[in-house]
């Protein structure tokens, strides 16, 4: 699909989220709620004691009854539908021929770790802070966006072997 057309499509999805639920899109938050509820189920005492977890368990709602959790399930389904639509469904490890599949998986794991850690700190990832933040003109969104892309460009040279 033409990137600009895809951008308009994505923009209308974001606008719909703003119009219906008064909020932007998000992704890393869903990951957090999943972790929080797992910790709450596995180690309830620890969750009760911790300043961080306890704030998610004192409300009426369970952590998984969250907008973001359902949205993320939708993303999973939406990706699948689109993949089936365009014939891209395939189990595979995508990596540059210069690195092994194992190395790619290790870096993907580390990347995910860093990304979500940073997203928790900045209270939003590329979708929650940068994209949705820009769409509501929030200062935080612009700052986070510049920081993400700026640092990715800075680090790009060190990881060039992984990609090109």
């Amino acid at each position: 699909m033409n990137p600009y057309l895809a951008g308009c499509l994505l923009g209308s999805v974001l606008l719909a989220a703003m119009y219906f639920s008064g909020r932007g899109l998000g992704a890393s938050g869903g990951v957090k709620y999943a972790v929080v509820s797992v910790v709450g189920a596995v180690a309830p005492e620890h969750a009760e004691k911790s300043v961080y977890y306890s704030s998610y368990f004192n409300g009426e709602k369970k952590p998984l009854q969250n907008w973001l959790v359902f949205e993320i399930l939708g993303v999973l389904a939406g990706g699948f539908i689109s993949g089936a639509f365009s014939g891209r469904l395939k189990l595979k490890i995508e990596h540059s021929p210069k690195i092994s599949a194992k190395k790619r998986l290790l870096f993907a794991f580390l990347g995910g770790l860093f990304f979500v850690y940073g997203a928790q700190l900045a209270r939003g990832c590329t979708s929650g802070a940068a994209l949705s933040g820009m769409a509501v003109l929030s200062t935080a969104g612009f700052v986070t966006m510049v920081a993400i892309f700026g640092s990715a460009y800075l680090f790009a040279w060190f990881f060039r072997k992984n990609w090109i």
Binding site: P3, S21, I93, A108, Y117, T126, F155, I164
Partner: protein
């Protein structure tokens, strides 16, 4: 008048169902834009494929322009739409960590989940990493709480901080984006990697 579910006190399940439907559309749009491929996403940082930048800015500006027009015609109250809270230090440091994660993993959380949907195993590992990252953050939160919640500026809007109207700021943003679109097309011509882009 929007935001519908904030003004109407709709039951929780309606909101969650909408979240699911919006998620489907979100995932569909991401996948159609080609964001389920990490090498396409990483291409932005080496100049051979700048789809991310184009989609990202088009989407943000489309939603911004749309919301401002909706407000002008009295269809939405933007005061009731969530504006991100601005914690100066956390936003900058968090953004830098995210940038490092981006170039290592090749996904961001949204695109990673979308790529899991079409069966990318590297995306699944990215997601596992994400779970560990969220867990580590929760465990380390007591030690960094002061920094993470410090330098708080509230949900500020950038145009108010600059003292101009939202419409005028949008025009500036659009001019920057249009210049960037032009530059990225130059970059794609300057750093072509046909062996990668043909494969995608």
């Amino acid at each position: 008048m929007g935001p519908l579910f904030i003004l109407s006190d709709a039951p929780l399940w309606v909101d969650l169902l909408t979240a699911f439907l919006i998620g489907i559309a979100f995932g569909f749009a991401l996948e159609q834009a080609g964001f389920s491929s990490s090498r396409k996403l990483a291409g932005m940082f080496y100049g051979y494929d700048t789809t991310v930048l184009k989609v990202f800015f088009t989407a943000a500006i489309f939603a911004l322009v749309g919301s401002l027009f909706l407000q002008y015609f009295g269809l939405i109250d933007l005061n009731l739409v969530y504006v991100n809270e601005y914690y100066v230090g956390a936003a900058i440091v968090g953004g830098i960590i995210m940038g490092a994660g981006f170039i290592m993993g090749g996904f961001c959380p949204g695109t990673g989940i979308c790529a899991v949907g079409i069966g990318k195993i590297d995306a699944l590992f990215f997601l596992f990493g994400g779970f560990v990252g969220a867990f580590l953050f929760a465990e380390s939160f007591p030690y960094i709480a002061e920094f993470a919640s410090g330098y708080y500026k509230g949900p500020t809007k950038i145009n108010e901080w600059m003292g101009i109207s939202a419409g005028l700021f949008t025009l500036f943003l659009i001019i920057i984006a249009v210049a960037m679109f032009w530059l990225t097309e130059k970059a794609e011509k300057a750093f072509p990697k046909p062996e990668i882009t043909n494969e995608l």
